[in-house]
Subunit: 412 residues, 2 copies
């Protein structure tokens, strides 16, 4: 069902020096499914991460945040351990204890401090984590550690995803080849709130810790925080950016340098590809929708309009039906929460077709044109507010019978 | 498909002295369908109304608000004219001209000022209003005026509704029998924002204009503003409360009087019945869900939690599937927007089954109990925040295949 999304070619996923990955099948929820992933980092790796803002955040999110705060040059992050099949969310103190036990057992096996481990979980909420299976699996993922395991890793973190999501690219900085490889998972419960779903990007670039964090936030804001499938913000969302420093470039330490900008552009482009892949593989998706909101006064008001459109079940079902029932988009813009919006100045385009101007149907608009665009698998909705100079883009998908089917059946 | 909702019995709908209703079929969108309703008021009637806060409000909303502002003892509202099949929204200046022309032609026929007419439309957005059909229909609805036409009126305002919605009741105040009768329509694009959908309640009580308005706002806040079907706020929502003064009671002019309170209770109860009927007949609904949020600090935060749950597609599909996947409710509470929410103090009940306490699954909870409640057609979700003393209730429905079907097919 995914919209114009094919699995990555394993041979195009490039190892990142200093990063190895181990996968195992430990039977957390389903049989015959890889469900445990270890990402091991060499000593010098730097890590930056953001997590969900959901108050009911999962236990591993709580623990990972703590460990990240404790991490410093003496206690760098050594490993990320990720399980699918169970979110370890809504499990109270027991959940936190399980996440801590996972870290301390892995730390024992890797001979490091448990604060050097970041735990992640994804899956069903409010079911006890089968800790013994994860503990059982830790030696297996360690034994499986390889630098060219990125494709298997992208498969191991899938839940309702139908297609694994992974991308690599290389750029040259300072005469050195820099490799960037990332994986992500997510398909439902997708709505931005700092980070969305699980995403891991690693690069061998040398960069200072403060700039890695600065870059991470900017990248997330322009990629994973710009997508919505169903408007539900997960309890487990996390995005992690890793830089191992093995590329041999002079460490990037100036955020106004050409190197910083080039690296940020490359990582952001890769993050956008992963974020878009999540939407293309959105639960039940048959259409990939790009929403451009232009000429707003602030990013906040552009986001309000984009999210109102992207979240409206009426708009999403119209896309599914290929029905140019575009009044539903106007209604969503109207309730987005811009109190002083002058609708008579607004323009709405579907791809290059002008649909609305001066607050009503454009003179030039004819339904056949709208119909033609609505039938496409990829559609650009452009809303020009004509209030200011700020623009933003978000990506979403339609709402189909299969969304209901997937989410009515998910646990069974 | 409506959940525990049967059509009103016509003989139980009581005429309200001073109000007559005329219905006609004028072919606005579909053949063989009553689609024009005139509610005519005697000279002394008082009217209070609220309208949608959607910036893209329909032309008739703009005109009705203007006319209501102009209305006073010399220019009391004489008639409400309501068409279905076309929302007259997103039609720019042409739409406003059409709404004004409807009013002026009706005013000519009724021999009054056009400012004494309130126009309302409901149906598809951004299609030109077929004004000539409405003008053609005006003499027909006038010829059809009768005081016992409430049932036919409730049918005439239906769009995707499957069941007409109308209720009557009588109370005794000041030794006089007071009659209250109301009708409403609405099934999709339902999310509170001042008023929701079209609702008209008339009573023959004598009450001062300021108190009628005070009562109207309180009634709406506790009924129509407490429901959501799909989270989309319509461009055309309106609620109107009419008091004709024919009952012979001493005019109510003190909002601390027992009479005011008794009347408000009666009207509010009737409004809640109509509002709940809209949810029971929500597009594709198979379950009627009551959400009680208790012990919050403010009404605002209780509403945030209630709306997050009521709007979540994941929660709504779980209800459809009768799947006690209750972590989805926790996730919705977590992203509702209460920044300092302490989830460890929270309790969640499904009917009388305690599901969550101390931020995790209750010791006493077993899935069979959750399953049993989820299979019921009516379910009460109770969230106890344990932060303050404020509570609120909202009503919603589930998300089914039929929601997609209805909204993917609506225009065709």
């Amino acid at each position: 069902m995914a919209v114009n999304l094919t699995p990555p070619l394993p041979e195009l996923l490039l190892p990142v020096r200093g990063v190895s990955l181990g996968i195992a099948e430990v039977g957390i929820k389903k049989a015959n499914r890889k469900d445990l992933l270890l990402i091991a980092l060499d000593q010098n790796a730097k890590v930056a991460a953001v997590f969900t803002q959901n108050c009911f955040c999962a236990a591993p999110v709580t623990v990972a945040k703590e460990h990240l705060l404790d991490s410093n040059s003496k206690l760098p992050i050594k490993a990320l351990i990720i399980n699918t099949g169970n979110a370890n969310a809504g499990n109270g103190e027991t959940g936190v204890t399980c996440a801590r036990s996972t870290c301390s057992e892995l730390a024992r096996l890797l001979d490091c401090d448990s604060r050097q481990i970041l735990p992640f979980s994804t899956g069903v909420i409010m079911e006890p984590l089968p800790l013994e299976r994860i503990i059982f699996g830790l030696p297996l993922v360690i034994a499986n550690l390889k630098s060219d395991n990125w494709f298997a890793a992208s498969q191991a973190i899938m839940t309702t995803d139908t297609v694994p999501k992974a991308v690599s690219r290389q750029i040259v900085l300072d005469d050195k080849v820099i490799t960037i490889t990332g994986i992500a998972k997510g398909s439902g419960m997708i709505h931005p709130n700092m980070a969305t779903m699980l995403g891991y990007i690693a690069t061998d670039v040398a960069i200072s810790q403060p700039l890695l964090e600065l870059m991470m936030r900017s990248v997330v804001d322009n990629s994973f925080n710009r997508i919505t499938v169903d408007g539900d913000t997960s309890t487990n969302d996390a995005f992690v950016l890793i830089a191992t420093g093995y590329a041999g470039n002079v460490e990037i330490s100036d955020n106004h340098s050409a190197e910083f900008r080039a690296l940020q552009d490359a990582i952001q482009e890769l993050a956008i590809q992963l974020a878009q892949a999540i939407v293309r593989d959105g639960e039940g998706a048959t259409k990939f929708i790009t929403i451009n909101v232009e000429k707003g006064v602030s990013l906040d008001e552009c986001a309000k309009v984009a999210h109102a459109i992207a979240r409206s079940p009426l708009v999403k079902t119209a896309f599914f039906a290929s029905d140019p029932n575009l009044g539903r988009i106007l209604a969503a813009i109207g309730y987005a929460g811009i109190n002083d919006l002058d609708v008579s100045r607004l323009q709405l385009y579907l791809d290059n077709v002008l649909v609305v101007e001066n607050g009503s149907r454009a003179q030039s608009y004819c339904e056949q044109d709208g119909q033609r665009v609505m039938k496409q698998p990829e559609i650009i909705v452009k809303v020009i507010l004509n209030r200011g100079q700020i623009s933003m883009t978000t990506w979403t998908c339609d709402f189909s019978y299969d969304y209901i089917k997937i989410n009515a059946d998910y646990r069974s």
